[in-house]
Amino acid sequence: MTTMARTMPRRDIFAFWDRIKMPLFYGVLILWTLISVFPFWVSVVYSLKPVANSYAPPYLWPIPFTLENYRTVLTQFELFPRWLLNSTVVAIAVMLIRTLFCAMGGYAFARLRFPGKDLLFTLTLFTMMVPGQVTLIPQFLIIGPGVIRNLTIAGVEIPTGFGLLNNLGALILPSIVDAFGLFMMTQFYKSIPTELEEAALVDGLGRFGIFFRIVLPISQTALLTLALFTFQGTWNSFMWPLIVLRSPENFTLPIGLQWFKGEYYTLYSIVLAGSIFNSLPIIIIFFLFQRYFIRSVAVTGLKEA
């Protein structure tokens, strides 16, 4: 290119660029598609091969073919279905609770007047900037053993923690609402017209009624976007469950899979088959609701811009 730039007049460079531009862009896109898809493709292929062939060619097609690994995962490991269930319960619970609470809080920030609102909103934005590592240890203490052990006032022992270690509640309680979702819903409610609510107010409907009967039904898109985003985050989350869950029967799928890997390192086809149970549901949900996922990314991008 550099020699060309020197010998060619400008117009010719552009003509040359116009000729190679589209093939070049298609080349980039196809190359990256292959890079993106290859690891998933081979992991599915090898999950369908016998364990003895965990590293053997052919790479791109399951020869010899077997469903044995999936059968092993679901029947030989009594804990596996349990992990699947735990993950599902937690992800759905957090999704429903957080979406509702974020919508309520976002509505309050966007529409209602109350003392301390600006300060609270600023605090909310501030908390988004604090790295998770800072609050990790105290959150662990609050959820589990307590911030102060054996705190007694006037002879009465005061608990300073929820005692939820090794309990799925530990995954739900701190996640019932979060700053990001609140912020997203606040922005959403600020962007929609107020006429409908004003009319309802004149008709004598209270704020509660307005929110639940008028506002929630018209916020479906925003609610679904937040719900999917939350589901994905909870379903995939790793560090917090790793810290608060102790016994294998309470693991969520990512923690279980990680533990699995340690136990069956040499039987990798089984690990891959297990992994599919974690990645496939979220990929299917992504395909079904692609529009909303893409919106959620665009919304994340908007918050700074």
Binding site: V28, S54, P131, I137, M239
Partner: protein
């Protein structure tokens, strides 16, 4: 007693506080109190079993003299950020740019690129541990015999690559949204003024992308400084500490060993926050100065 207006105002207050009650609970207990308590703990010696013992600044001093921190976690993390952030930003920008052209099957490409970003870090790590094992497919295809994740030289670069691979989908989408937001009239005006394609790129497209670039780089910096999942699953900080990052060290000191050091781990967490803050501010300066 109350006038109608006053009653309405009070009921609005009441509704707002009820609607925000869950957030008050989380904000005050799990966020603000936690930050304060972590700050307090960072000045103590605390092993979870006996009460925190006030030790002043000595945890910070000890961290700054600690071999694991100074010779492993700190350089590894900085190297990680310095390599991953520019590469992931650059590749995702190129891909977004290609997708923004008059491309067929745009939806298909966009979907394929985003799949790694919806998949859990654990599954991705498990797949790459297998792909990059000594007898794995990557070595077979390229006729190599590198023990990627058990080599102090290759382990960190391998994890960097995995992270770049898995984050590009999200970043590409942000750039694509920003590119599609640039008004066509801006391009038309530049063309009427006689700008050539290079000048349009330089004076229209890139300035319009600046907020998106700032956002993506910030996200990348924050994410990279806190990298944990991939490290935990793929190498557990090894071999020989070559993949120990700051976030991993915090986990190890607070939860991951028999010698629990919650005070020291908290001190590292604050040092980490300060580093993130400084890097983000410097980066903002640089992007603003370009203007």
């Amino acid at each position: 007693m109350f006038s109608q207006a006053k009653r309405r105002k009070l009921s609005e207050w009441f509704t707002a506080y009820v609607f925000l009650a869950p957030w008050f609970f989380i904000l005050f207990v799990f966020v603000l109190f936690s930050i304060g308590w972590a700050f307090y703990l960072s000045f103590t010696d605390y092993n979870l079993f006996s009460p925190p013992k006030w030790v002043g600044l000595s945890q910070y001093i000890r961290v700054l003299r600690d071999r694991d921190f100074l010779q492993r976690a700190l350089p590894n993390t900085l190297q990680y950020v310095a390599v991953v952030v520019p590469i992931q930003t650059f590749i995702s920008l190129i891909i977004a740019f290609a997708l923004d052209q008059n491309i067929r099957f745009r939806r298909f490409f966009r979907t394929a690129f985003y799949v790694p970003s919806v998949t859990s870090s654990v599954v991705i790590s498990l797949i790459f541990v297998w792909l990059f094992s000594k007898v794995g497919i990557i070595n077979q295809i390229f006729h190599l015999k590198i023990d990627w994740l058990n080599s102090p030289t290759y382990a960190l670069p391998t994890i960097m690559m995995v992270n770049i691979w898995s984050t590009i989908g999200t970043m590409m989408l942000i750039f694509l949204a920003a590119l599609q937001d640039i008004p066509l009239t801006l391009y038309e005006a530049a063309q009427i003024d006689g700008a050539n394609r290079f000048q349009i790129l330089r004076y229209v497209t890139i300035p319009a992308l600046r907020p998106a670039i700032f956002f993506v780089v910030t996200m990348g910096v924050i994410g990279c400084f806190q990298v944990f999942d991939q490290i935990y699953v793929m190498t557990a900080g090894g071999p020989l500490g070559s993949t120990t990052t700051i976030a991993y060290l915090i986990y190890k000191w607070a939860f991951g060993s028999t010698n629990i050091q919650m005070g020291r781990a908290s001190a590292v967490a604050f040092i980490l926050s300060l580093m993130i803050l400084v890097v983000v501010l410097i980066q903002r300066r640089i992007i603003e100065r370009e203007e």
